[in-house]
């Protein structure tokens, strides 16, 4: 996927003015948050599972080579093939090579964010294969020629009306009626995609967890499209990334208790499937070939750095669901595959900090993402580290650096701080009286704070600073 993160300021502003997006995000807002809260509170030891998941992932990341080679040999032992890809180009080449056979024309695909990193669909289409996304959300955005705007709800930015129009445009020719109701929309997608499932030659899915001990891939979905994609065609290809490996089946339970709850507020997603090799000799169905493409694409470079914690991410989407920036601007404004807090940390690492200089600032440091993260990634701290690095690289604006320097001098000197703040407070109060807004209690405009006051009023401060009031009260006591 092309990186557009450099334009974040522009795209975010545009998103805020997009009326359809405001409707779609408004309808989605809170849904995941409320259901998550209910099922998390129900589990007595949610915090213990978070710590377990954090420690397990840290352990695996410290011994990644061991677990990956163990996984590889167990996939091979069960009759599957493993392919290693260090970057996106290699993935595309490997997958095209597997598919390059005269009888292979149609490829069905389950949802995979990893494959978005290097536009696998475009690569396959360039090699003359027909690729069909089968997750309903992914199918919708494939028709619309868009990219996912959320890592688990890729079409969250689309209104029902938009889907109605889209289906009408693309399905009418095949004789399908225009559908308006939700159930009818889903039914029509079911019918259309059923044809593709049953005629596909290759199925490509992602993987949520790779189990080193057994060589199994755990895939978690709600629709069941992943399983129809994986089992109906003759060849099943899993495209997944290296940091998803976990030690054994006993560890999986803990992760599953966290994932469903954190992602969609479910105690368990509908379909959790463990794929292990191709169909066995006397099995009645299943694919004849099973390939796993293990993708690095920059991840091993994050290992051992101050950003390693982000590799624990299990892609649940809880951080973005709880992020006031994401829930207002949606995912596309972030300009690459991964939006929200985890995206703002990961994108600069994967595409280069200079290509995404504003993302670390797309954060109010409110800390909700860190509180809900199932693997305890300190997201705001990592964003702050990005900001530090940007300043050290000279990537910040001069007036910003200058402002920060002044602030640092003032904040480090309590007397100076007190003096400056009381002066400022007094000045604002005088200004409020002069402008006759004192009684209203707020300013409509303040010089140099235009960006803030253009969308809201600034309250007239109290006549004394906190420190001033504190001292006065102490004296009177």
């Amino acid at each position: 996927m092309q990186v557009q993160s450099k334009n974040f300021r522009k795209t975010a502003k545009k998103a805020l003015l997009d009326a359809d997006l405001r409707v779609a995000m408004g309808r989605a807002e809170g849904g995941f948050v409320d259901t998550r809260k209910l099922v998390v509170e129900e589990l007595d030891n949610f915090q213990e599972y978070r710590e377990f998941a954090r420690d397990t992932k840290n352990h695996v990341l410290a011994h990644l080579d061991y677990y990956l080679t163990k996984f590889e040999s167990n996939v091979q032992a069960s009759g599957g093939q493993v392919h290693w890809a260090s970057n996106g180009e290699e993935v595309n080449r490997i997958v095209v090579d597997i598919c390059k056979r005269p009888e292979i024309k149609k490829i069905t695909k389950g949802k995979s964010m990893v494959s978005e990193e290097f536009a696998l669909n475009a690569g396959l289409e360039a090699a003359d294969f027909q690729v069909i996304e089968t997750d309903l959300g992914e199918y919708i955005i494939q028709l619309a020629n868009e990219t996912p705007s959320h890592i688990i709800a890729p079409a969250v930015h689309k209104t029902k009306q938009a889907v109605t129009d889209l289906f009408d445009e693309y399905h009418r020719e095949a004789g399908y009626p225009r559908v308006v109701e939700r159930l009818d929309i889903v039914n029509q997608a079911r019918q259309v995609l059923r044809d593709h499932f049953c005629t596909a030659d290759v199925g490509i899915t992602g993987g949520n967890f790779l189990i080193a001990d057994t060589g199994s891939i755990a895939l978690i979905t709600n629709e069941g499209n992943g399983d129809l994609t994986a089992n109906l065609p003759k060849i099943h290809i899993v495209v997944t990334s290296i940091e998803k490996v976990i030690p054994d089946m006993q560890a999986l339970g803990g992760f599953l208790r966290l994932l469903g709850r954190s992602a969609t507020g479910q105690i368990m997603s509908v379909y959790t499937t463990l794929f292990n090799g191709p169909k066995r000799i006397d099995d009645l169905d299943g694919p004849e070939e099973f390939h796993v493409v293990l993708v690095d694409n920059g991840r091993s470079e994050i290992l051992g750095t101050q950003f390693q914690d982000i590799l624990r991410c299990i892609k649940c989407g809880a951080c973005m669901n709880h992020c006031p920036v994401y829930t207002n601007i949606g995912g596309h404004a972030y300009g690459w595959v991964y939006p929200g807090p985890m995206g703002s940390v990961l994108t600069p690492l994967m595409v280069g900090q200079k290509n995404a200089p504003d993302l670390p600032y797309a954060c109010t440091l409110n800390g909700r993402c860190k509180t809900v993260c199932p693997v305890m990634i300190p997201l705001p701290d990592l964003l702050r580290k990005h900001r530090n690095n940007l300043v050290e690289m000279g990537e910040s604006k001069r007036f910003q650096r200058w402002g920060m320097w002044v602030w640092a001098q003032v904040a480090r000197n309590p007397r100076l701080y007190f003096l400056m703040t009381s002066l400022y407070v007094r000045k604002l109060n005088v200004l409020a009286r002069l402008l006759l807004v004192f009684r209203r209690g707020s300013f409509k405009h303040i010089p140099m704070l235009g960006a803030w006051t253009s969308t809201r009023d600034f309250p007239v401060p109290s006549t004394a600073t906190f420190q001033g009031q504190w001292k006065k009260r102490k004296r009177s006591e």
């Binding site: 779609a24 309808r27 849904g31 995941f32 069960s78 089968t134 997750d135 309903l136 959300g137 919708i140 709800a153 890729p154 079409a155 969250v156 209104t159 939700r182 159930l183 929309i185 889903v186 997608a189 079911r190 995609l193 059923r194 499932f197 049953c198 060589g215 199994s216 709600n222 629709e223 069941g224 499209n225 399983d227 129809l228 994986a230 089992n231 109906l232 089946m249 006993q250 999986l252 339970g253 969609t264 479910q266 105690i267 368990m268 997603s269 509908v270 379909y271 959790t272 499937t273 463990l274 794929f275 292990n276 090799g277 169909k279 066995r280 006397d282 099995d283 009645l284 169905d285 299943g286």
Partner: protein, 160 residues
């Protein structure tokens, strides 16, 4: 737990009672009593009187299937399906109505106690928790996305 995840459920005393329960369920859903059944020894040994049955792999024309669960997980209301020559994978996904037979003796309390029961991994282990669903249209849940629209569990109490 299974009903909480929008599955339906009923208990019967023995395997011999399964056909009647399955028939009643399908008629209740206004579906003709024709089913494709997984060729497991438990299911092939029953007298399926009253239903039109076939023991083969499901295809897209089959509206209903009957499957035999390897186990059930009480914590989450999850059915455990293990693929083999007696248990085709597509039976869980292609038909619109899936009836799963689960022996009470095969219930485990949590996932951690399930894994030791499964030896070498087969092609697929399917953990199924309720019927297929999607929330991709404005975050509102609709059942029957790609997999079964309805999942009915018949719990068999007897141990034999």
């Amino acid at each position: 737990m299974h009903t909480r995840v929008q599955g339906t459920f009923e208990g019967v005393d023995s395997l011999q009672d399964v056909p009647l329960a399955a028939h009643r369920y399908l008629v209740g859903q206004s579906v003709s009593p024709e089913v494709v059944i997984s060729p497991s020894p438990e299911l092939t040994s029953i007298n399926w009187k009253g239903l039109k049955v076939e023991f083969r792999v499901a295809n897209r024309k089959d509206r209903s299937s009957v499957t035999m669960a390897f186990a059930g997980i009480a914590e989450t209301g999850t059915l455990v399906m293990v693929s083999s020559k007696q248990s085709p994978i597509n039976h869980h996904f292609l038909p619109e109505f899936n009836i799963a037979v689960l022996k009470q003796s095969k219930l485990v309390d949590c996932m951690e106690n399930l894994w030791p029961l499964i030896g070498e991994h087969p092609r697929t282990i399917n953990l199924i928790t309720g019927p297929s669903k999607t929330a991709d249209i404005e975050q509102t849940i609709v059942y029957g996305a790609h997999g079964p629209r309805a999942l009915h569990v018949i719990l068999v109490r007897s141990t034999c």
